[in-house]
């Protein structure tokens, strides 16, 4: 097997040629935003927004910062402006059921007009009604009714009084009522005088008084009836006067809203209610003691019933609403019923009903961040309920959970017609799909945003346009094309693939802004490639504290990494450390020791539970490789142990499995490995080296250490051949490779790698499965044979002793 050559410097960095751009600076671009490389997601958005059936709401999934919100907003702002303006909504007092305020639907802009009209009307009533009721005509009529009653009563009593007087009997007012008594010369007869009268005379008087009493009783019995009649007449008079005063005002209003049946019905009801309660408009302002007692507040709140609570006002809208709810708490979504504290009691009325995002977005589009929605208590359930029932029902959380015990409202639900767009990470989408059966019913469309886009001329130009749009939006200095090219290269590096550009536009926007900062610092009119590089370097430096600590520890040999000698059973693996949004590579020493045993490979990391499952899987795979290659002729009579030296935290991933296999082969063959080389790559049971992640960081991590110690031309890294396309290395690494100071070897099979690492051919098995004795594989085979014989002998001796 021939060993692969080190990679040519050209393969280490995919340059973006500034000259491929037709513009000189981003100023020449139109500054408009273009969503590139997201055709799949945009198709899904178009489909979801276009289909009008229930449940076709959208979940835009993808990593944060990939421009989901921008893309959705960009698309929706286009279609929303073309769509019709939805109706206004308001809540009004329900005369029949005050606890159930009625929802009123009006054409856009009419709700506020109605509210103003009602306010003006009520204000006018405070003048019109008192004027009507203080008019001379009303006073005269009211007085006439009162006098009529009084006269009726007086006439009846006077008639009786006269009749009594004819018989010398007087009607006298007592403290509690009336009584009759015989009189003489205007004075009541003294009891002793009365007793001196003849019995017959006394009987006549008593009889007469009894008759008068009966007559008086019948008059008294009729007085309440007359009183009622008088009250009815006054009530009718009041109704007529109030009606006369109120009608013209309402007639004008009804005429203005004659085309709106619901509104005219409301006005009709309100008109009758005002006529019913006309007396409220006649009351003067409460005296100071009433205000203290809270009576004025009660009086004021009475007139609230004639107010219009405009929940949704589309008077200034130019199309369908497009609402992004930044804090999707339950009450912010479906609205809330607020309370006022009055005299220590919580009170509310329909004017305290507050609109939620669903109200504002009704007839249009509502965007919500899925994670924020899910962390808000009950918000997800409230949203689902609204979408399922297609109506917005406002329920106070405090009432639902009995946090407050007071009279609250149950407003009439408002019909809902909205497209909801949830945006979130993929795992949220998959979690909801798996665990919430309602989710797939209500969010039938997924817009899956790509993590990256192709690194081709279109992709690169899309990047340039994005930069131009950011510059335009944030009013930054414009970028010259070298700066744009450098950002494209940075996007390529972030994608971890030379053929791709990251779609994480947030990162690109950040680097754009940071670059512009340095250009401004350097008083440059245009942002140049140097500024972009400055920003990238500065960002690396800002996040390099841990990396430098690690390197320092290595250079001081606190962490033992050998980069100069050759060692048996020892190899430099490469690990990536991710801290925040920065990651860096650093070498780690992997060692392998072998002894007689039952063919097991012990992963010390796994034994102490510091290794993750993927890492353990990698170790078991290499055991499989060993067994398949060397265990066909004889049992593997070894016990091998593998460990990451000086590792004090968990290890995950299988990218070190090839390194572990090299260390094991070295230990078995007793062939030293060149420590100036480092290895990354996973391995399968056939010994093929497979792709890993973070290849750039790993190469640069080892390069940095070797550079610190001094490059001598021998240093290099073995990487899987399938990772070549992912290479996008720093300029200093590329320069070192160009100078022949550092090498990168693409390896496809373990046999290639072992030869590079040991300088001894791996060796190929002959027809009998035997490897050449001087090859690494031959040495391994011989060693294993020797170990098997030793073990066999040992077992035989042990068995003999036992016998």
């Amino acid at each position: 097997m021939s060993i692969p050559s080190a990679l040519h410097p050209d393969k280490l960095y995919r340059k973006c040629d500034p000259l491929e751009f037709t513009f000189t600076t981003t100023e020449e671009l139109d500054g408009s935003l273009e969503i590139a490389g997201q055709e799949r997601a945009l198709d899904a958005i178009r489909f979801s927004m276009g289909i009008l059936h229930d449940g076709f709401n959208l979940f835009a999934l993808g990593p944060n910062g990939t421009g989901k919100q921008t893309a959705v907003m960009h698309y929706l702002s286009g279609i929303a402006s073309q769509a019709g303006i939805p109706d206004d909504w308001c809540y009004v007092y329900n005369v029949e059921k005050p606890r159930h305020p009625s929802a009123l639907r009006l054409p856009a802009g009419k709700a506020c007009a109605l509210s103003r009209d009602m306010e003006r009307l009520v204000e006018a009533l405070f003048t019109v009604l008192p004027a009507a009721f203080s008019s001379e005509e009303y006073q005269a009529q009211e007085k006439a009714i009162g006098e009529q009653f009084q006269e009726r009563q007086t006439a009846a009593i006077e008639k009786l009084e006269k009749k009594a007087a004819e018989n010398n009997i007087a009607l006298i007012r007592t403290p509690a009522g009336f009584a009759f008594a015989p009189v003489k010369n205007g004075e009541v007869i003294k009891p002793e005088e009365f007793m001196l009268l003849k019995e017959g005379e006394r009987e006549v008087i008593e009889k007469e008084i009894a008759s008068l009493k009966n007559a008086m009783q019948s008059i008294m019995a009729q007085i309440p009836k007359w009183q009622r009649e008088a009250q009815e007449k006054i009530k009718e008079l009041n109704r007529q006067v109030a009606d006369f005063a109120v009608k013209p005002l309402f007639a004008e209003l009804k005429n203005n809203y004659s085309s709106l049946g619901q509104v005219t019905a409301y006005l009709e009801t309100t008109e009758n209610d005002i006529i019913e309660h006309f007396d409220r408009f006649l009351e003067k302002e409460g005296a100071p003691h009433e205000i203290f007692a809270g009576l004025s507040a009660t009086k004021g709140s009475f007139f609230n019933r004639y107010r219009i609570n405009v929940l949704v006002d589309n008077s200034r809208s130019t199309g369908a609403p497009l609402v992004f709810e930044d804090k999707p708490a339950c009450q912010n979504l479906v609205g809330d019923i607020e309370h006022l504290s009055q005299m220590g009691t919580l009170v509310t009325d329909f004017t305290l009903i507050k609109a939620g995002a669903l109200h504002r977005a009704n007839g249009g589009y509502l965007l919500i961040d899925a994670r924020r929605l899910l962390i808000e208590p009950l918000a997800w359930e409230a949203l689902k309920k609204a979408l399922r029932t297609r109506q917005i029902r406002i329920e106070s959380l405090a009432q639902l959970y009995s946090l407050v015990s007071t009279v609250s409202l149950d407003p009439e639900p408002i019909p809902l017609e909205v497209k909801v767009i949830l945006m979130g990470e993929r795992y949220l989408y998959y979690l909801l799909s798996s665990y919430d059966p309602d989710f797939s019913e209500l969010f039938k469309v997924a817009a899956d945003f790509e993590d990256d886009l192709r690194n081709n001329p279109e992709g690169r130009f899309a990047y340039a346009r994005t930069i131009g749009a950011i510059v335009e939006k944030d009013r930054l200095r414009h970028f010259d094309r070298t700066a744009v090219a450098r950002i494209v290269e940075h996007g390529c590096r972030l994608a971890g693939d030379a053929t791709k550009l990251t779609a994480h536009m947030q990162s690109i926007a950040d680097i754009v802004r940071e670059s512009e900062y340095y250009a401004r610092e350097n008083d440059r009119a245009l942002v140049a490639a140097e500024d972009v590089q400055h920003a990238i370097d500065a960002r690396t430096v800002r996040a390099s504290r841990i990396r430098e600590k690690l390197r320092e520890a290595t250079l001081r040999n606190t962490i033992l990494i050998d980069t100069t000698s050759e060692k048996t059973g020892q190899i430099n693996g490469l690990a990536v450390y991710s801290l925040g949004n920065q990651s860096f590579g650093h070498p780690g020493r992997i060692t392998a020791r072998v002894s007689l045993g039952k063919g097991e490979v012990i992963d010390i990391e796994r034994e102490v539970e510091m290794g993750g499952p993927i890492h353990s899987k990698g170790v078991l795979i290499l055991s499989g490789f060993l067994a398949a290659r060397f265990g066909m002729q004889q049992p593997l009579s070894l016990s091998a142990s593998l460990v990451f030296e000086q590792s004090y935290s968990g290890i995950e991933g299988d990218s070190a499995s090839s390194a572990e296999l090299y260390a094991l082969l070295s230990a078995l063959s007793e062939t030293p490995i060149r420590q100036w080389l480092a290895v990354t790559g996973s391995v399968n049971q056939h010994g093929e080296v497979q792709a890993i992640g973070g290849v750039n960081e790993k190469i640069e991590g080892f390069f940095d250490l070797c550079t610190a110690r001094g490059l001598d031309g021998k240093h290099g890294v073995l990487i899987p051949v399938s990772n070549i396309d992912n290479i996008m290395l720093r300029n200093d690494v590329v320069e070192a490779v160009k100078a022949g100071l550092f090498s990168i070897y693409p390896v496809s099979h373990i046999d290639e790698g072992i030869e590079i690492l040991t300088g001894i051919p791996a060796g190929e098995a002959d027809a009998d499965g035997l490897y050449p004795r001087e090859s690494v594989n031959g040495k391994v085979q011989a060693r294993l044979q020797e170990m098997a014989l030793k073990l066999k002998k040992f077992n035989a001796e042990s068995n003999g002793n036992d016998d």
Partner: protein, 298 residues
């Protein structure tokens, strides 16, 4: 009217001294009598007079209660109930206490000296007897009349016909402190006295209406000239009305209602026939001050 921080009302300062040193007021707890009490207290404060409250236990009631067949028909049940003398006396005592409490309240409010007397007998007679020492008797137009009639009650009638005192007949809905005053003037001395009293009663800002009643048409000019001598020059709000050659109380009443100017001040000793005056007082539904002793102001 000013108010102290304790809520007591201080009458406006007046110069001069008054013949009214004592004001008697009949109190039977009826709405008219409560209005009378308030007015009497306000006048007493203004004139630095003493207030005398009179409550009369109606002897007719007590006699009636002692009659063997006596029963009263209760207002709110319309059912006859036997009358008990002890119970009636208890109720009368309660009424007397209420009357006294009302008097004390008003007297404290206006800071006037006051006394209260309870008498037993025929109400009109006792009220007039109790008010003998007073310079002014204030009564409600009607008391606890069974028929709720609009006209004068028996005590008011007796006070008009059987007393030589100045009599003020009040009714609910009016207050001496807020109202304008209308005086009947026919050029006679008693009517001049009425003008003088009206000027004293009138509060600043209120209007003095003078209804001139010339016997012969054209006399009103001379009357107006006389009045300019009687009315202080700084008195701004004076309105003159003329109704010549009138002796019919109904015409007068109609005119006064039309003017709607509050307290009516007149004398039954002016040139108009006394009967016309009494008919007018009976008919008119305004408070009336009948001036008799030649003026209050010394």
């Amino acid at each position: 009217m000013q108010q102290t921080k304790h809520g007591n009302r201080i009458p406006p300062e007046k110069t001069g001294s008054y013949a009214i040193r004592s004001i008697a007021v009949g109190i039977d707890c009826s709405p008219h009598s409560i209005a009378s009490l308030k007015t009497a207290a306000e006048l007493a404060a203004r004139m630095h007079a003493e207030l005398l409250g009179i409550f009369v236990e109606d002897i007719n009631l007590l006699r009636m209660a002692e009659l063997p067949f006596s029963q009263e028909i209760r207002i709110y049940s319309a059912e006859p109930e036997s009358m008990d003398t002890a119970e009636l006396e208890r109720l009368l005592r309660i009424q007397a206490k209420q009357a006294e409490a009302s008097l004390q309240r008003e007297a404290q409010l206006f800071r006037v000296h006051h006394s209260f007397s309870v008498r037993r007998g025929m109400v009109p007679k006792e009220v007039i007897a109790a008010a003998l020492g007073a310079d002014l008797l204030v009564l409600g137009r009607s008391g606890r009349s069974p028929t709720c009639r609009k006209g004068l009650g028996s005590t008011a009638r007796t006070a008009l016909s059987g007393s030589a005192k100045n009599v003020l007949l009040m009714r609910t809905g009016f207050s001496a402190e807020d109202e304008s005053v209308l005086v009947l003037y026919d050029g006679s001395e008693p009517s001049k006295s009425a003008i003088a009293i009206a000027i004293d009663l009138l509060r600043p800002g209120n209007t003095l209406h003078i209804l001139m009643l010339p016997q012969i048409e054209g006399d009103d000019k001379a009357m107006a000239d006389e009045l300019t001598m009687l009315i202080p020059a700084d008195m701004l709000r004076v309105e003159y009305h003329t109704l010549p050659a009138v002796t019919d109380s109904r015409i007068l009443a109609r005119y006064i209602r039309m003017a709607d100017s509050g307290l009516l001040v007149l004398s039954d000793r002016m040139n108009l026939p006394a009967e016309t005056i009494y008919n007018l007082i009976d008919e008119i539904d305004y408070p009336v001050l009948l001036v008799r002793d030649g003026g209050m102001n010394c």
